[in-house]
């Protein structure tokens, strides 16, 4: 059964916290509009790392994705939701 979006978001924020324990941003300030690069401060390898972390957590595979596929957390959630269908 597909997870509701608010639970997906909760889980995604968990992953970001686990993967980036020393991050300088405030996790409580993150929203779906948060930009991965400018708000979360992810470099290209950081985006790759989070994508791999999401694969591990959600048990999905990010086939055919490129560096520019995810600009915001909302983009990531959209992809995960789509994969769950």
């Amino acid at each position: 059964m597909a997870m509701p979006r608010n639970e997906l978001k909760e889980k995604l924020f968990d992953i970001i916290q686990i993967a980036m324990p020393d991050a300088s941003f405030d996790i409580d300030s993150l929203t779906e509009e948060s930009d991965l690069t400018t708000d979360i401060g992810l470099s290209s390898v950081g985006v790759l790392y989070i994508v791999i972390a999401i694969e591990e957590f959600f048990g999905i595979r990010f086939d055919n994705v490129g560096f520019n596929d995810f600009k915001t957390l909302g983009d990531v959630l959209n992809y995960i939701e789509e994969k769950q269908k």
Binding site: A19, S44, V45, L48, E55, E56, N68
Partner: protein, 338 residues
């Protein structure tokens, strides 16, 4: 294999660091470096389906960076293609598509040209890094006064729960297993239906996929899930403890400390020691639980006090990484009893 700063030759695997990511290619000549897609910072306006194997000159490959050349040892060279065959293979794949940042990137392609096997140390390394992060998550939840007992996985656990005749005990076991199911998914992305679960001769359930520990007291459940051994115990401080409890639980050193406490603090001291020793026992999996022989390792213990409905609980968690513990308290019933 090592990476060297040297002049490349025909068929060499080469790479350049752009930002904090490496971009890989196959050197044919100064005018021809074959790579799967342009450098990462040049991919920003490209869809994965637009990315293909291309040939550019060395300056376009390097984009101002320093060229590194793969230096294989004798054993690796024996298994690899000859340099001229590496170059031919790379050239024959110009125009190939199917790019994936994780599964079919420039490093996969370069390794495939050289050895015949597509692999990426960058993505494998990141995956290993993530899998090595210590995770110790603790979930607490209330046991509802009434709930429908459904089926659980695996069937042996289902049968175990259904065999419990006491209704309250059966509800507690069902709810704890459902909270475990929620915790495994939430913390580790594990679906209980997809992991192997088995019971040992002492009746303890475990899985090779992770570690978990379950405890309950009164109407409160506590579950710990982790990638490393973990033990949890929770007890309510609701009534004076029976006389002689200290004799059975405390080490000689602890008895001295206990003797120096005021009456008000004695019960709290005893319960906190009891839960700590139970947590260590559950984590370390010893055959017999003899609390007065267990010495608590302070830097492997976290004790949390929880107050619920005017009842004070002590929750102890034994883990090598107590600083990594995350608490998810009072999980709503609707979240784990679906």
């Amino acid at each position: 294999m090592k990476w060297l700063l040297k002049d490349p030759s025909l068929g060499d695997m080469v790479r350049v660091k752009i930002g904090n990511i490496y971009h890989y290619g196959i050197f044919v000549s100064e005018d021809e470096v074959i790579q799967f897609g342009p450098a990462p910072n040049e991919q920003l306006n490209l869809r994965p389906e637009d990315i293909e194997v291309i040939a550019t000159d060395i300056d376009n490959f390097l984009v101002g960076g320093f060229l590194e050349v793969a230096d294989f040892d004798k054993k690796e060279k024996k298994k690899n293609r000859k340099p001229e065959d590496v170059a031919k293979y790379a050239q024959a794949n110009i125009g190939r598509k199917g790019y994936s940042i994780i599964y079919n990137n420039c490093e996969h392609f370069a390794n495939e040209c050289v050895s015949g096997y597509a692999s990426s140390s960058q993505t494998d390394g990141l995956r290993s890094l993530f899998r090595s992060i210590p995770i110790v998550d603790v979930f607490t939840a209330r046991i509802p006064d009434d709930c429908k007992i459904g089926a659980v996985f695996p069937i042996e656990r289902n049968d175990e729960i259904n065999a419990v005749t006491n209704e309250s005990a059966r509800r507690e076991k069902y709810c704890s297993w459902q909270l475990l199911k929620y915790a495994l998914d939430r913390s580790l992305g594990l679906k209980i239906e997809n992991i192997s679960l088995s019971k040992d001769e002492n009746g303890k359930w475990s899985t090779p996929s992770c570690y978990f520990s379950i405890s309950h007291s009164h109407s409160l459940l506590a579950i710990a899930v982790s990638r490393a051994p973990v033990g949890i115990d929770i007890e309510a401080l609701s009534a004076p403890l029976m006389p002689g409890f200290d004799e059975k639980v405390l080490t000689e050193k602890e008895k001295l400390e206990y003797a120096s406490l005021t009456k008000e603090n004695k019960d709290e001291y005893l319960i906190s020691k009891w839960t700590a020793k139970e947590a260590f026992f559950k984590r370390d999996g010893k055959a017999a639980f003899i609390p007065r022989e267990i010495n608590i390792v302070d830097n492997e213990l976290c004790v949390k006090s929880i107050e619920l409905d005017s009842v004070k609980y002590f929750c102890s968690i034994a883990t090598k990484t107590p600083e990594k513990i995350r608490f998810f308290e009072d999980i709503p019933t609707a979240r784990f009893l679906k």
